[in-house]
C-alpha cells in the first residue's frame, strides 16, 4: 500500500508536508542546483519587505551548540524585484509557493498583501515575529493586540483565495494567547516558531559577536521549544492548520511535529548543513509513518494528543503498512 503523503495548509493542498523555512532557502533557486524544488511540499521564501533592504552589518552569524545565531536583518531586494525575478522563477519551476512578508508597521504589511494580490502565491506567511526587523523587543507577535491588528488588516487586503498564516515567536509568556488572537483576527493557519532571541560574546574582543548584537537562535537546539509551542497551539486552536518548524533535521523530527499537531513542517537551518535535507526528510518521514501503521500524513496530525486508548484503538483497526510499530 502506498502512503498518502498529501496534506493541506487551509485550502491549499500540498503533495507532501515538507517545505523549506523562510530565510533558509532564499527563493529556491540556489537549492534547485541540488534537487527539483517542485518535489517539495512547498518553498517558503525569505521574508520580503516593501523596499530593498541591505540587512545588518557583519558578522551576521555565530555557531552555537546544535544551532546558530543570526542577525541577517532581512536583506532582500524589495517586493517589486521579488515579484519580477523570484516569484516568476518559482512559478516556472512549478513549486508550491508560500510567500513570507514582513513590514515595519501594519500599513507596510497591507501594501505587501495588495502587491501580491494577483501574483502566483499559494499561501501568505505573515512574519510578525522577526527579531531582526523592529527595534528589538517590540516584535508584533509579542503582543496579542498588535498581532491581531496586523493579521486582520492583512486578511482583508489579501486575495480571499489565498490562506494567510501568522508566524509566531516563542519569546512570549503564553504563545496560546497570541495564537487565539491571530485566529480571531482571521488567520487561516499559524506558522511556528520563529527564532529565539539570543546572544553570543566573542572572547577575543570581549564584545557581542554579532554586528546586530543579539540574533535569532535556530537549529536543533530549539527543537523541544518549537515542539512544545506546536503542542500548546494545537490544543488552543485545534481548528487551525499549523506549519511547524524549529530544528527539524530528520524524518523522525518531522514526525514529532506532525504528531504534536502540525499539518506540515518547514526545514530551515538543517539546509545550511545539508542542502538536500528537505528531500531526504520527505523519504524518511514516509518510512517513519509506515513503520507506525499510518496510511496517510493526515492520520498522524495531532495523534500525540489522543489518549493511549484512542491511539491503541486506531492502530488495532488496521495492520501496519510495513513491518510493525517499533
Amino acid at each position: 500500500m502506498t502512503m498518502d503523503m498529501t496534506t493541506s495548509l487551509a485550502s491549499v493542498e500540498l503533495a507532501n508536508p515538507v517545505l523549506t523555512a523562510s530565510g533558509c532557502a532564499a527563493a529556491g533557486r540556489e537549492l534547485s542546483q541540488f534537487f527539483d524544488v517542485a518535489d517539495l511540499g512547498g518553498v517558503v521564501t525569505k521574508s520580503i519587505m516593501l523596499k530593498p533592504r541591505s540587512g545588518r552589518p557583519t558578522p551576521r552569524m555565530a555557531e552555537t551548540p546544535s544551532g546558530m545565531l543570526n542577525s541577517i536583518g532581512l536583506q532582500g531586494p524589495g517586493i517589486d524585484s521579488f515579484i519580477a525575478n523570484d516569484l516568476s522563477w518559482l512559478r516556472q519551476a512549478g513549486a508550491r509557493t508560500v510567500v513570507s512578508i514582513a513590514g515595519h508597521n501594519t500599513d507596510e504589511f497591507v501594501s505587501l498583501a495588495k502587491r501580491l494580490y494577483h501574483q502566483p502565491v499559494d499561501v501568505l506567511e505573515v512574519n510578525i515575529s522577526c527579531p531582526n526587523v523592529e527595534s528589538r523587543g517590540q516584535v508584533f507577535a509579542c503582543d496579542p493586540i498588535a498581532s491581531a491588528r496586523v493579521i486582520s488588516a492583512v486578511r482583508r487586503a489579501t486575495n480571499p483565495n489565498v490562506p494567510i498564516f501568522a508566524k509566531l515567536s516563542p519569546d512570549v509568556t503564553d504563545i496560546t494567547q497570541i495564537a487565539r488572537a491571530v485566529a480571531d483576527a482571521g488567520a487561516d493557519g499559524i506558522s511556528l516558531i520563529n527564532t529565539l532571541l539570543g546572544l553570543d560574546i566573542d572572547l577575543d574582543t570581549m564584545r557581542p559577536t554579532l554586528g546586530g548584537t543579539t540574533g535569532g537562535l535556530s537549529g536543533p537546539a530549539i527543537r523541544p521549544v518549537a515542539l512544545r509551542c506546536v503542542w500548546q497551539v494545537h490544543q488552543a486552536v485545534p481548528q487551525l492548520p499549523l506549519l511547524g518548524m524549529g530544528g527539524i533535521r530528520t524524518g523522525q523530527d518531522a514526525l514529532q511535529f506532525i504528531l504534536a499537531g502540525a499539518s506540515a513542517v518547514s526545514v530551515g537551518t538543517a539546509v545550511f548543513h545539508d542542502p538536500t535535507a528537505p528531500i531526504r526528510i520527505i523519504a524518511e518521514l514516509e518510512a517513519e509513518l509506515a513503520r507506525r501503521g499510518f496510511r496517510s500524513v493526515a492520520e498522524a496530525v495531532g495523534f500525540a494528543h489522543l489518549s493511549a486508548e484512542e491511539q491503541a484503538a486506531f492502530l488495532a483497526s488496521r495492520s501496519p503498512v510495513a513491518g510493525v510499530a517499533s
Partner: protein
C-alpha cells in the same frame, strides 16, 4: 538582489553534494593537507573555487560547514577524481577535521564560488599568498604558466610553520619569495614589502591574492598604486556556502557604481580588490543599496 556580477568569471557548472573518502593526510607545519576522492567536485572545478565540508560526523552539534579553497584537483581518468584542501586547526570544527584519518568519509559540497578570472594569454602576473591562502594560487599559477604568462609568487606568514606551498610553488615557478613576520623563514616583513618590486620587475598587469582580509586590502592598495587590478580571494565566514543564508556578505561597489552587500560564497570568493569597500567591512554605510530600508 540585483546580481551585479561585473567582469567576474563564472563557474563552469553547478556544485554537487557528495561523500568523499580521505585518500591521504599530510602535515605541513601547522597545517593538515587532505586529499579526498570526490569526482563530482573535481569534475567542474576551476582555480579559485572552494568546497564546504561538514564537520563532527552524522550527529554533529556543529551545523555549519567549513569552507576550504581547493587545489591539487585531479579530475579523474584511470582513477576517480580527487581534490585537495588544507586545514588549520583553530576551532572545534577544524580540530575535528584534522583528527580524521585516511579512509574516513567527508560530506562535501562543491565546487562553490566563482573562479579566478584569467587575463589574456601571456599577461605577466604576481601572485600573493598569506598563510595557507597560498594553496589556491598553486593551480592558478599552473594555469597562467600554461597560457604563457610570466608569473612571480610571494608567500608570507607570521612564522615559518605557518607557511604553505612555498616548496611546491618553487618547483612549479622556479622561484618563490618568502616573507615571515618574525624572520624565521625568508625575509622578515610582510608580503607587501617585496610586492612593488615584483610588479615592476615583471611588468605585471595583474595581481592575485589569497589570505587574511588585512593582507588582501594591503595588496589591493599596492596594485592600485601601480594602476593594475588585484583579484583577491576573501575568507569571510560562511554558514551555508551555497548562497541561501546571507551571512557572508561584503560591501562591494558594482560596475554601476552602486554598493551592495554581496555574498562572498556565490558572487565571490574572488573579487576585484578595488571594488571591495574595505573600510566599511563590518559596518553599514549609509549609501549602501537598501540601507535606507533598514
Amino acid at each position: 538582489m540585483a546580481g551585479e556580477a561585473g567582469d567576474q568569471a563564472q563557474p563552469a557548472a553547478g556544485p554537487v553534494q557528495e561523500t568523499g573518502e580521505i585518500f591521504d593526510v599530510t602535515r605541513f607545519g601547522e597545517y593538515t593537507q587532505f586529499t579526498v576522492v570526490a569526482p563530482g567536485v573535481a569534475r567542474a572545478y576551476q582555480p579559485g573555487q572552494f568546497a564546504a565540508v561538514a564537520v563532527g560526523g552524522v550527529e554533529t552539534s556543529m551545523l555549519l560547514r567549513r569552507s576550504f579553497a581547493l587545489y591539487g584537483v585531479k579530475p579523474g581518468g584511470e582513477f576517480a577524481g580527487t581534490i585537495q584542501f588544507v586545514v588549520a586547526a583553530n576551532g572545534r570544527g577544524t580540530e575535528w577535521l584534522v583528527q580524521q584519518k585516511i579512509g574516513a568519509r567527508l560530506d562535501l559540497v562543491g565546487p562553490l564560488g566563482v573562479p579566478f578570472p584569467l587575463p589574456r594569454p601571456g599577461v605577466p602576473a604576481v601572485l600573493v599568498g598569506g598563510g595557507y591562502g597560498s594553496a589556491p594560487l598553486i593551480p592558478l599559477a599552473e594555469k597562467l604558466i600554461a597560457q604563457g604568462s610570466e608569473v612571480e609568487v610571494i608567500v608570507g606568514a607570521a612564522t615559518a610553520r605557518r607557511l604553505f606551498g612555498d616548496l611546491q610553488i618553487k618547483r612549479l615557478v622556479g622561484t618563490v619569495t618568502v616573507t615571515t613576520d618574525d624572520g624565521s623563514a625568508g625575509q622578515r616583513g610582510w608580503v607587501t614589502d617585496p610586492l612593488p618590486s615584483a610588479i615592476e620587475r615583471l611588468g605585471a598587469e595583474i595581481v592575485y591574492a589569497c589570505g587574511p582580509m588585512g593582507m588582501l586590502r594591503a595588496v589591493g592598495e599596492v596594485a592600485q598604486a601601480h594602476a593594475i587590478p588585484a583579484q583577491v580571494a576573501v575568507e569571510e565566514s560562511m554558514a551555508c556556502g551555497i548562497g541561501v543564508c546571507m551571512t557572508c556578505v561584503l560591501p562591494v561597489r558594482g560596475s554601476d557604481g552602486v554598493s551592495r552587500f554581496v555574498r562572498s560564497c556565490v558572487e565571490g570568493p574572488i573579487f576585484d580588490a578595488g571594488r571591495i569597500r574595505w573600510a566599511d567591512v563590518g559596518k553599514l554605510p549609509a549609501d549602501l543599496y537598501g540601507a535606507d530600508g533598514m
